[in-house]
């Protein structure tokens, strides 16, 4: 690698980063949502969230467990995909492909006490189920996407 290539790489990196970071477009609504596990219980608190369609959503999930080593995340899916996705997650102990088209948004897994986030564009108006990939049958809720 020549010095020129290295220099060009260093100069272009911040621009590339700026280009990749998906900032909200002018006029786009930005919404911060927060959700947590109910301590170590397999329950989302709250179990219903609301945001407007098209908004740029920044969701924060806090694993509020103190005792159990179970890990949790937050996975947003489509209503008609919930059953199949849940069954697959159950059968595979929570494994899924990163580019699974059934998944709209997902946070990384959080250990007890951990905080993880995800950013996504709110889909078309409707009710979208969310769940935890490691406890797909118990930890569930609904994201209400309004007009």
């Amino acid at each position: 690698m020549t010095r020129r290539t290295l220099l060009l790489g260093c100069i272009s990196m911040p621009f590339a980063w700026l280009g990749c970071s998906s900032k909200p477009t002018p006029g786009q609504q930005v919404v911060d949502l927060s959700i947590a596990s109910d301590g170590d219980l397999l329950v989302f608190k709250p179990d219903a969230l609301t945001c407007p369609s098209g908004a740029r959503v920044h969701l924060t999930f806090h694993h509020e467990g103190k005792f159990l080593s179970a890990r949790h995340d937050w996975v947003l899916t489509y209503p008609d995909k919930l059953a199949a996705l849940s069954q697959q997650l159950l059968d595979s102990c929570g494994d899924f492909a990163k580019n699974d088209p059934r998944i709209i948004a997902v946070t990384p897994l959080a250990d007890k006490g951990g905080i993880v986030t995800t950013d996504f564009i709110a889909p078309a108006p409707g009710d979208y189920p969310f769940l935890c990939s490691t406890h797909p049958e118990d930890m569930r809720g609904v994201l209400h996407v309004t007009e």
Binding site: L68, S69, L90, C93, D138, R140
Partner: protein, 155 residues
């Protein structure tokens, strides 16, 4: 004389109620205890699900979580009288041992029916533990914890 006997019997019964009832009914942190008991059921249900899904490699992890849930319960009763804690500890250890048997079996004999039968024995041991607590604090071991937005359902 008879009247004196009756008085003694009534006093004895009263004393028994005075001593035993507070142990169960006047726990210092009933909400925390309820949560601790619910965690045991929660992990027990996960045990059952993993057996049903034939995720046998996952079962030792469930056993680890059961021990963590047992520690959670211990922490909720740490300020209770020693006699009560001793009773709980005896039955809690029995329940933990029963779930360890399920865990051990899962690696040596990964058979769904046999593991389910052993799991049922473990639930019985857990029920014996729950008998030490007031009825309103006991979760139903046959129901999962209130997930799915508060929905409750059977296994």
């Amino acid at each position: 004389m008879k009247r004196a006997h009756i008085k003694i019997v009534l006093r004895t019964i009263g004393m028994v109620f005075l001593v035993v009832a507070p142990l169960a009914a006047q726990l210092k942190s009933p909400d925390d205890v309820k949560r601790g008991l619910t965690l045991l059921v929660q992990v027990s249900n996960d045990f059952k699900r993993q057996i049903g899904a034939k995720n046998f490699q996952r079962i030792p992890h469930e056993y680890m979580e059961y021990m963590e849930a047992a520690d959670a319960l211990r922490s909720t009763i740490k300020d209770e009288p020693s006699a009560f804690k001793a009773k709980v500890e005896t039955r809690l250890k029995a329940a933990v041992a029963a779930y360890q048997t399920v865990s051990d079996m899962s690696s040596k004999m990964p058979d769904v029916d046999k593991l389910m039968a052993e799991h049922a024995k473990a639930v019985t041991a857990m029920n014996a533990l729950f008998d030490l607590f007031p009825t309103d604090l006991r979760p139903d071991p046959n129901l999962p914890p209130p997930g799915r937005g508060g929905r409750r359902g059977g296994n």
